[in-house]
């Protein structure tokens, strides 16, 4: 029983981690808190749903297209909103406000398309296989979610630390001016960062959609707040930190359900967030930047 809950907690945590990773990438590299990530999460899940149920596409293809769409929407946001804003000298607060507006636009698009209904994937999208061993029940969906998450996280880690793109992103995160001096095309690197971040958000959206088998226009909203908690606890801009923090949040939620205070799991999460902000605002693995006024 305890082991089963542990597995559930890790699964929940891994979806949080995927979502928060995309958040943290843009935040760490460009110092933009992109709230619209939650809307991209929702829209990607809808794209996957419509491709499967209306156009009868096989799940892997629909999954790929949805992830690409997530990335492209984020690039569009960068081109249309964030880049003009930064060239006009917007502060970090005005980019946050702009991303809140963008998120509002995208969510209302999702609402208009879906008519505010809860959609379910057609039966048989994912093979319905379950394994029962030692009182533990694991479904094929759960294995799929976990393996995709692990692969993506490993991929992101390698991308950031070993490839040219990753090195360029980390340079910009250090200082955009220095990146420019070194001849890094900062504008296109910023677009790539947004693409990867949006793709991660889209990935999380589709995985969550099939895990709980429900897609609706407000599904991203709680994840934005969980993502905030994960990046603060893990530390701004840290990949390892976000993964550890997301697992902590997932486990805390599952175990608060076990202890019978499941109704207040959001309060537990936000309480953890508040404690960290109070005692260690740089998070577990964050850079020691100055956060105090």
């Amino acid at each position: 029983m305890l082991l089963q809950q542990l597995i559930n907690g890790i699964l929940t945590g891994s979806v949080y981690a995927l979502f928060a990773l995309g958040f943290n990438l843009v935040l760490g590299a460009l110092n933009i808190l992109n709230v619209a990530q939650g809307a991209i999460f929702t829209l990607s899940a809808f794209v996957a749903y419509y491709l499967i149920s209306v156009y009868h596409l096989a799940f892997p293809f629909a999954f790929l297209v949805a992830v690409l769409v997530g990335g492209l929407i984020n690039v569009a946001l960068e081109v249309l909103i964030f880049r003009p804003l930064r060239t006009r000298g917007g502060t970090s607060m005005s980019t946050l406000v702009a991303s809140i507006g963008a998120s509002m636009i995208l969510i209302s698009i999702a609402q208009l398309i879906s008519g505010a209904q809860v959609e379910r994937f057609p039966f048989g999208t994912i093979p319905d296989i379950q394994w029962n061993n030692f009182d533990i029940r694991i479904s094929f969906t759960q294995v799929l979610v976990l393996s995709v998450t692990v692969l993506t996280m490993a991929g992101t880690y390698v991308m950031l630390n070993k490839t040219r793109l990753g090195k360029a992103i980390r340079t910009i995160a250090f200082s955009e001016r220095i990146g420019l001096m070194l001849g890094i095309p900062t504008i296109s690197i910023a677009r790539w960062t947004f693409f990867v971040s949006g793709a991660l958000g889209g990935l999380a959206g589709v995985l969550l959609g099939i895990m709980y088998n429900s897609v609706y226009f407000l599904m991203g909203e709680p994840y934005v707040l969980k993502g905030f908690a994960a990046i603060v606890i893990g530390g701004f801009g840290s990949v390892t930190g976000v993964i550890v923090a997301s697992m902590m949040i997932g486990l805390a939620e599952v175990f608060s359900t076990v202890m019978g205070i499941g109704k207040f799991k959001d309060v537990v999460t936000f309480g953890m967030l508040f404690l960290f902000l109070l005692l260690r605002p740089n998070g577990l693995f964050g850079r020691d930047e100055e956060v105090r006024p």
């Binding site: 804003l85 809140i100 707040l225 109704k263 006024p293």
Partner: protein
Amino acid sequence: MTMLDISSWFQIYNHALATALINSVMALSLYFSLRAGIFNLSAVGFMALGAYTSGIFAIRLGTPSVVGIGVGVIISLIIGSILVYPILRLRGHYLAIATLSFGGIVQALALNLDGLTNGPAGLIGVPVTVEVWHLSIIVAMLVYLAWILTSSRTGRAWDAIRTDLSAARAVGINVEHYRLVSFLISTAIAALGGGLWAHVNRVIVPFEFGFPQLTFVLVNTLLGGISHPVGPVIGAVLVSTMPEWLDKFEQFREMIIGFLLVAIVIYLPNGLVTSFSNFRLIWTKVFRKIETKPRSSGNE
């Protein structure tokens, strides 16, 4: 137009007017925070706190509305003065996240403390005692208070802190004190707005205090701009009456608000009210050939 027409017009638009005025109260609450350079997103959380307190007092205890609203403001001030110390030690994104998650906690509690708040169904049957003329007087008084404070020593300190915190500290302004005052005034006004809202709307539902409400408060304040206390009120009235003159686009309302928010931040970063005073400046510059100093516009 006879007297009868005028009175029926007021009856039809009564609720819309009341909503516009309450949005003005909320926009003024955010005005006080932004004026001191605190990007405080907890206004909606304190609004929920005020609304639920006055609703619970009116329904469960049957006290007069003034008592419920007053207690709501006092409770919010107590909670605010506990939270203000950890929150104001943060800056930038950290402050935004902390205040936003406070709103999340309040909403989660409102959804789940069934015995007190009646859960997702919400509190129904709060007596409607607040009239439009009450609200008009309150908004006028708040604007007056904002104007007095803004043009006083406190207001100058806030402007200095907003423009450059370290420089303000260097010239000997007690930064912590003035930021605390701004945060607490903002808290009290938000709770007042919530309490009034409960007595206008008759129903309090937890979903009303979520993300959309926050965007609404933000767009109201930023459209008007924070360079003058009238700005937030103008913004709130313009945006709140929008459904009336855009009734064919009702389903696009949230999308329009989103577009507005993005457009304001990019093209009108100082809001409507400043652009009018800028217009006067350009006028004098072009036609009188007078050298004018460039206006500084610090946002943080």
